[in-house]
Amino acid sequence: MILNGEERKINFRISVSDLLKQENYDFRRTAVLVNGTVIPRAGYDSASVSDEDTVEIVGFVGGG
């Protein structure tokens, strides 16, 4: 799996919720892209990722 540009190995499918918890993310401050598709917050429990996927975890920063 590629997470924010870095290679990661995960051994089995996990839900997006669990991934965020595992990586210590504040849910309220993040949005998630899996293979280029935006995952709505309401779907964090049902959506899952595997070792084949590319994940981006983004949030707001100063800019513009």
Binding site: N4, R28, R29, A31, I57, V58, F60, G62, G63, G64
Partner: protein
């Protein structure tokens, strides 16, 4: 009678929009307060290490967030970023910023026109950052933009209203609020933009690089208010020195 800034279906009292890049997080809140800012832009980026120390913690209550699509190289990427921003919970206002030029950071009007269509269809209130061009502005208005954000000069150049005449055309020929973005270096330039009839001014570098950042934010607020008041008061006529015609042009009228 109120003189609110109206963008889409939202109303604002302040016409000073803050670009939040280039500030330390601690300064952000002071600038927003001193500047009387009600709208602040944000970017969407990868967040590592759990997303702690987040800029949202430094945004006062009641601020309207205006995420931009910086990083997008085309319309589809702009839509994806807009959707991510919406998931982050900022409402529907998005500043479209599609830059394919790493030297001058000039926006791509063509991709921006396409992006407006995509975003408007997806329920976003789209504010396009653009290179001032009346034809492009008309197309953007037709595509569903809620405002037009022409650049005054290249981002970060602080060169003021280089594109003044072209911005003036857009103000005259479209019905959308025109918000000058990028290149404003001094409060006087912000004042001039407002005197011309701009609906609002956005600034970032000019404030962030001042010696006293907080005071500069106040200066911008006052300048923008002054310019707006002058515009509403109706600027006086320019007394032109006219050439003397040898005989009056209307002398032929018999009656």
């Amino acid at each position: 009678m109120s003189d609110d800034l109206i963008i889409g279906n939202k109303r604002f009292k302040s016409r000073f929009i803050l670009g939040s890049g280039k500030f330390s997080l601690e300064m952000t809140e002071k600038v927003i307060r001193n500047g009387g800012v009600e709208i602040a832009t944000l970017a969407v980026r990868r967040v590592n290490k759990g997303g702690r120390e987040n800029i949202l913690d430094y945004m006062p209550e009641g601020i309207t967030l205006l995420p931009n699509t910086s990083g997008a190289r085309n319309a589809e990427e702009a839509l994806t970023i807009a959707r991510l921003a919406r998931e982050l919970g900022c409402g529907d206002m998005i500043k479209i910023e599609i830059v394919r030029d790493t030297r001058y950071l000039l926006p791509d009007n063509e991709e921006t026109i396409k992006a407006i269509g995509l975003l408007a269809d997806d329920g976003f209130t789209a504010l396009p950052y653009m290179m001032p061009d009346l034809t492009a502005a008309r197309k953007m208005e037709k595509a569903g933009a809620a405002a037009i954000m022409p650049l005054a000069a290249p981002i970060g150049s602080n060169r003021g209203l280089l594109t003044k005449d072209f911005i003036s055309m857009i103000i005259g020929e479209t019905d959308l609020p025109v918000i000058v973005d990028a290149g404003i270096g001094r409060p006087s330039q912000a004042c001039e933009a407002m005197e011309m009839g701009c609906a609002a001014v956005m600034a970032n570098t000019a404030v962030a690089t001042a010696s006293d950042v907080g005071a500069m934010a106040s200066a911008f607020r006052m300048a923008i208010e002054a310019g707006r008041t002058a515009y509403l008061a109706g600027l006086g006529r320019v007394l032109s020195g006219r050439g003397e015609a040898s005989s009056p042009l209307t002398g032929f009228l018999g009656e």
